[in-house]
């Protein structure tokens, strides 16, 4: 296949960036899009030119490292997959593919396609956990938990913290990310004790990190590679209400 790539290049966080066009002809259908970037980078490196910086690690949609805006959409055209899982059979001969970093005030660009999403970690540090020290936990079967409760918690906990929800939102809100963690822990009996504090501190940190407000347009759910449901946002809103009232 022959493919034209338009790739965002930016030397440092302050610097202006721009789209640079590259032509590649020896692309095959079974390559992943990131392997096409690898191929381009090999060619650049062999010529002594600086390769394109981009994050990726697991390349199976689970580590959340890859966060690319592909043809204007977070993680590209397919539903329910991360950037690293897109294969070239998705595209056609002579297609032009535009690749940019996720855009959000809270996710500054570090270089080229690499962004800084440590704001997400700080939100978890503010309260996204159950406070148990190591040791002394009761037997794992001591409290039976209904299967559908655990399954719902698991669905929320499947978030990979890639930031697509933020990139998809016109306000760059982190509501789906926060809601997924609040719902994961809040739905389980183990998370009951800290329910109130957890959602208040996580939301406070989210605001401090300069994420925007949620306006319920649900673009986040549509672009989430793990298809995390906006029902979790409703859950979070109920938790907040409950926390403020009681």
């Amino acid at each position: 296949m022959h493919i034209t790539l338009r790739i965002w290049r930016q030397t440092n966080p302050a610097g202006p960036g721009r789209l640079v066009t590259y032509e590649l002809s020896d692309v095959t259908e079974d390559m992943s899009l990131l392997e096409v970037l690898d191929l381009l980078n090999l060619q650049l490196a062999r010529n002594g030119e600086e390769p394109i910086a981009f994050d990726s690690d697991c390349r199976e949609g689970i580590c959340g490292s890859c966060g690319l805006q592909i043809n204007g959409r977070p993680h590209g055209p397919l539903k329910g997959v991360a950037s690293c899982q897109i294969h070239m059979r998705t595209f056609k001969e002579n297609d032009t593919i535009t690749i940019e970093p996720f855009r959000a005030k809270a996710f500054p660009v570090v270089k080229d396609l690499v962004i800084d999403r440590t704001a997400f970690d700080r939100i978890i540090q503010a309260g996204g956990f159950i406070s148990v020290n190591t040791g002394g936990a009761p037997d794992a079967n001591a409290i039976p938990i209904p299967k559908n409760t655990v399954d719902a918690a698991f669905e929320a906990a499947a978030c990979i913290s890639c930031g697509a929800c933020v990139a998809a939102c016109k306000n760059a809100s982190a509501m789906l990310f926060v809601a997924a963690k609040v719902a994961h822990l809040g739905r389980l009996p183990q998370g009951e004790v800290e329910r109130k504090e957890r959602c208040l501190s996580m939301v406070a940190q989210m605001d401090a990190e300069k994420f925007g407000a949620c306006s319920n347009t649900y673009a986040c759910e549509a672009e989430c590679p793990k298809e995390i449901s906006v029902d979790n946002i409703a859950f979070l809103n109920r938790e907040l209400l409950r926390a403020k009232v009681f």
């Binding site: 980078n41 690690d57 959340g64 040791g135 936990a137 009761p138 913290s161 389980l188």
Partner: protein, 637 residues
Amino acid sequence: MELNSRIPAGPLVEKWDSHRFNLKLVNPANRRKYHIVVVGTGLAGASAAATLAELGYRVTSLCYHESPRRAHSIAAQGGINAPKNYANDGDSIYRLFYDTIKGGDYRSREANVYRLAQVSNNIIDQCVAQGVPLARDYGGLLDTRSFGGAQVSRTFYAQGQTGQQLLLGAYQALSRQIGMGNIVFYPRREMLDLVVIDGQARGIVVRNMINGQIESIACDAVILATGGYANVFFLSTNARMSNATAIWRAYKRGACFANPCFTQIHPTCIPVSSEHQSKLTLMSESLRNDGRIWVPMIKGDKRDPNLIPEVERDYYLERIYPSFGNLSPRDVSSRRAKEVCDAGFGVGPTGKAVYLDFRDTIQRNGREWIKEKYGNLFDMYRQITGENAYETPMRIYPALHYTMGGLWVDYNLMSTIPGLFVLGEANFSDHGANRLGASALMQGLADGYFIISYTIGDYFASNKFHKVDTSHEAFRTAEKELKSTIDRLLGIRGKRAVDDIHKDLGHIMWEYCGMARNAAGLKKALEAIPSLEEEFWRNVSVPGRTDDLNQELEKAQRLIDFLELGKLIAEDALHREESCGGHFREEHETEDNEAKRDDENFSYVAAWEYRGPGNPPKLNKESLNFEYLKPSQRSYK
């Protein structure tokens, strides 16, 4: 060098308890005085950092990822073992111990493995308390499944995303301590050297991957939890950045490297499709609970697999190993797959694949049932191959997956450098020559949550510590050496990219040091790797600057170490004149093509000691004594 494994005396089942009693303690008020650096935030590192901080030690944690939660552990799929015996199928601590020693082909320490089996039950309790959503049945109790090499159902899981869920539990515990100010965490820092002062590990030197600064951190003990080295083969199921640099540089500072040739090849991975492939994807072993492995009985049969009638299919694992069948251990299953493919029965465009077929289970239990258990794996398979495994069998082939070898550690998880502890896949400790499925998550969390917290206290309480800070000349020297290596790399300006050379190394390793090895091939590898190394230093191209985010420079640093480690792996494989577990020497096989151990001459851990550039490493042996389980020819028939 004298290797002292510090295995406590006394009966097996009492060793850990009596050892814990005999270990010296650090009083809670004094713990703040000790500063521990934990490198790595996978299961082993995150659990250790959190636990030590909870106890009151001062902890610095770092990793080369943007976030601790992106560590390679996140990708583990199938599950984690614990002999809870919730299934009431005859499981016990002793049985897990037995399975693990046997699975490791009698090349691990009884005392370590028994302790692992003992603490594994606590791990499940701990994780559930943290809110890890492990799968449950309709009665609300925890569900389990079976993994290879075991006849009981002891594997706890969260769909095909067990590693993700367990890591998030540990990450959240770590985050809590960071939020409380008990841990200082640095993202995007790569450890490039270990600093040893007066014989003790006293710090590390890292590169800040954002601005290229070389930074030093002084401390009282260093914990490496930096994962395995399977990427020496270039293609593996490991995450792309997984590498050997931390352990290799510690080796060069005096930590012995144990059993480097014990590498594991996983039987069920998506086959290689082209030269451009950047990594291989695992299809979890848990699939073998419900999928059946077969090849056509006719060589080169190109028919649609669904059209091949039952009588023309060879379910070779079920045929050769009637009692374990599709759940035979990894080393055995991989070799049999290679064998049928080499003999011409392989399927798919390259002939290097066998079928993993879910037809029967789907007919029995329905598609939804399969989807609930393995949905994400089927999705992943479809993404990569474009095929629907609900309708046509998966094609799979063995691939490099895990490394049992690693830095040598004693029973306290301390390396041969006092004050340097090694946890998780980075050490060699518990899996012998072959790891059983769902045991790595168990080991990483056992080391991090339940073992290091005791043993490191004993080290602090038993030793004197001079005050050391980063102004010490040992830090200056290490920093200077690193800067000059970096300048040298950037100055070569050759014609080949780092990955070009890494792929060549991968081909050499896979060809001569992969699933089957022999003396002639290993000798070839020992000639080919040095010449590739020479080419690297002459002809690699590392563009960009040192004071900037520079991923080619990161990769080049790692490749330096892979090239050196590749030689040690081949050396170790050549010296081990026997077959055991994942190390299969063609010269040593039984009549029915199984691995033939030589207990008389090789019942030991090979711990290699670095002796300076240009000198051959020295082989130290720790002999293995089996008091409880008598080594026998492994049989899964």
